[in-house]
């Protein structure tokens, strides 16, 4: 996109993002902007049907929409220009300047690096996903800076330029990492590899033995029965008929899980953890709070995973091109089953930096939006490790399937009272079985065991709640 924008003086193309390795095309369901509208980096500009879900897609450049190129309903390949944006600010300088020697390709394990997240991408190889997250930088839109200066100096081979256009690679972003030589075709293709592979992280399809698809309530009743939503809960969009949507989602899950089981040598570990104290803590806390602030055990479990994985960072990242790429940020994928069947595993960003209350709020929000079809592209694309909780379904333990290219997934079964021996005594405790499925190419059981130990510690240590 920035290729065009650089070459044509401030014109940028907003392209169909890749939100999963198995996503080849998408359909713009609806535009939220029209020509003449000003957009800011991080604004949601379109709803895109990725087959798995309708996703809110953010734009990563600030400017003015000059032209809409694809009309709603048209299915186009990933990388296809969807709109043109006149960029008013050179965002390049804003991005944290990376060590010039950093990894060539935007390692960004996040989504469609090339497609959606141009400027932020390359420079932030170290902490990829964060910079591009939908956090409109206030500085971005404000002052038109003496723009495109950097891009003007970019050296790109003509062939690479063509290839980049074909693949939807952002040359602008690439030029931040490759500064000492002209960008070649190989660089462009490498960038795609990283970006595309990474994107499947978000891969929607989630892994775990899918929770038995909800006994789909007769859809026929909906039209007549559905009372007008009177509260603020988001309403359902109605672009794709539910059954068609479910069928596509099923296909997408099938493709990703097939790939996972074909390519990823899983190993599995399990550990029982006494979480009586945690439950008592939650209960006590909830008594004193209004219902809107009540916690669920799931929130503490997510926090425990986020903190534990920081101790074993090799489980937090991606297996791309035969190598482990750790992520500095912890974006926790949360497997959310949809009532009509199927599931999605969008991310809670920077989960390790949120306290339990914030995590609870984030989880509530994410579950609601996943089930009403209001997820954002960044959430779909960049989980670094996923958590699946089948406790509510009453199973004791879950041995989940990894979402490639992530390298680990953590499972929680139900919390149940069980006999528990400790210090020579047997008592009754509330126990949960935690499980880990991890990619044996990236880590070994020894490290996985360390993770589960750290997780158990987090779940039992009030200091951490």
């Amino acid at each position: 996109m920035s290729d065009a924008h650089a070459a044509q003086g401030g014109l940028s193309e907003f392209r169909m993002p890749s939100l999963g390795a198995d996503m080849e095309a998408g359909t713009v369901v609806r535009w939220l902007v029209q020509p003449g509208d000003r957009v800011r980096r991080g604004d949601i500009v379109a709803i895109v049907d990725t087959d798995k879900a309708d996703v809110e897609v953010e734009i990563f450049q600030s400017g003015t929409v000059s032209e809409i190129l694809v009309v709603p309903g048209e299915r186009v390949p990933v990388g296809t220009p969807l709109a043109r944006v006149t960029v008013e600010v050179a965002e390049a300088p804003i991005a944290p300047s990376p060590a010039p020697s950093s990894v060539p390709a935007p390692v960004s394990p996040t989504k469609a690096a090339p497609a959606i997240a141009p400027p932020a991408t390359a420079p932030s190889a170290a902490a990829p996903s964060r910079s591009r997250r939908a956090r409109p930088s206030p500085t971005a839109a404000t002052t038109p800076a003496p723009a495109a200066a950097p891009s003007a100096r970019r050296r790109v081979s003509p062939l690479a330029r063509t290839r980049a256009a074909e693949l939807g690679v952002d040359l602008e972003a690439l030029s931040h990492t490759i500064r000492d030589r002209p960008i070649g075709v190989a660089d462009v293709e490498a960038a795609v590899g990283a970006g595309v592979a990474a994107s499947e992280a978000g891969a929607r399809a989630r892994a775990a033995p899918a929770p038995a698809p909800a006994p789909a309530p007769a859809p026929t009743a909906a039209p007549t029965a559905a009372p007008a939503p009177t509260s603020g809960l988001p309403s359902l969009r109605e672009p794709t008929a539910p059954t068609e949507r479910q069928a596509k989602l099923r296909q997408a899950i099938a493709a990703l899980m097939e790939r996972s089981k074909r390519e990823v040598p899983h190993y599995y570990l399990a550990q029982d953890v006494d979480c009586s104290r945690m439950l008592a803590w939650i209960e006590e806390r909830n008594v004193a709070r209004p219902v809107t602030e009540r916690l669920l055990p799931a929130a503490l479990m997510l926090r425990a995973v986020a903190l534990a994985v920081r101790e074993t960072p090799d489980l937090n990242g991606f297996w791309i091109d035969g190598a482990l790429r750790r992520s500095d940020a912890v974006h926790l994928g949360v497997a959310i089953s949809l009532r009509g069947g199927g599931l999605l595993a969008p991310a809670i960003h920077d989960a390790d930096r949120l306290d339990v209350s914030d995590l609870m709020a984030a989880l509530k929000d994410l579950v609601t939006r996943a089930r009403t079809g209001n997820l954002r592209a960044s959430e779909m694309a960049d989980p670094t490790i996923t958590v699946t909780n089948l406790g509510d379904q009453g199973v004791d333990s879950v041995f989940p399937v990894i979402y490639p290219p992530q390298v680990a997934i953590v499972g929680f079964g139900r919390i149940a009272e069980r006999p528990w021996a400790e210090h020579g005594m047997v008592g009754v405790r509330s126990v949960v079985t935690t499980t880990l499925a991890a990619d044996h190419r990236a880590t070994d059981g020894h490290l996985g065991a360390r993770f589960l130990n750290a997780l158990a510690r987090q779940l039992q240590d009030p200091q951490e709640w």
Binding site: A214, P215, A216, P217, A218, P219, T220, A221, A222, A225, A226, P227, P229, T230, S231, L233, S235, L236, P242, E283, N286, V287, P290, V291, T292, R294, L296, P297, A298, S337, R339, G340, L363, K364, V367, T368, R371, T372, G391, D392, Q393
Partner: protein, 82 residues
């Protein structure tokens, strides 16, 4: 509100919590988690929605009493003032 109106209210709140549900088809006396496949987040949203609609707080220790639609209605009936 009488029991019937309260049941209708519960169904209305449920339909917001889980828009895909055929709320009118739910049995009043069968556990909601089971028949509607509600998870703990849904249940929390239900309790929260009932509070919004009636002003009545349902503490966690009373959750067993509100496991069914009829249970919810009876619980609310017993606590509504006037």
């Amino acid at each position: 509100m009488n029991d019937q109106a309260l049941e209708a209210l519960v169904r209305r709140v449920l339909s917001r919590v889980a828009p895909e549900l055929d709320v009118e088809g739910l049995e009043p006396d069968v556990d909601l988690r089971e028949q509607a496949d509600l998870d703990s987040m849904d249940f929390l949203n239900l309790v929260s929605g009932l509070h919004d609609a009636t002003g009545i707080e349902i503490p966690e220790r009373d959750y067993p009493a509100v496991a069914t639609i009829a249970g919810c209605a009876a619980y609310l009936a017993a606590r509504q003032s006037g």
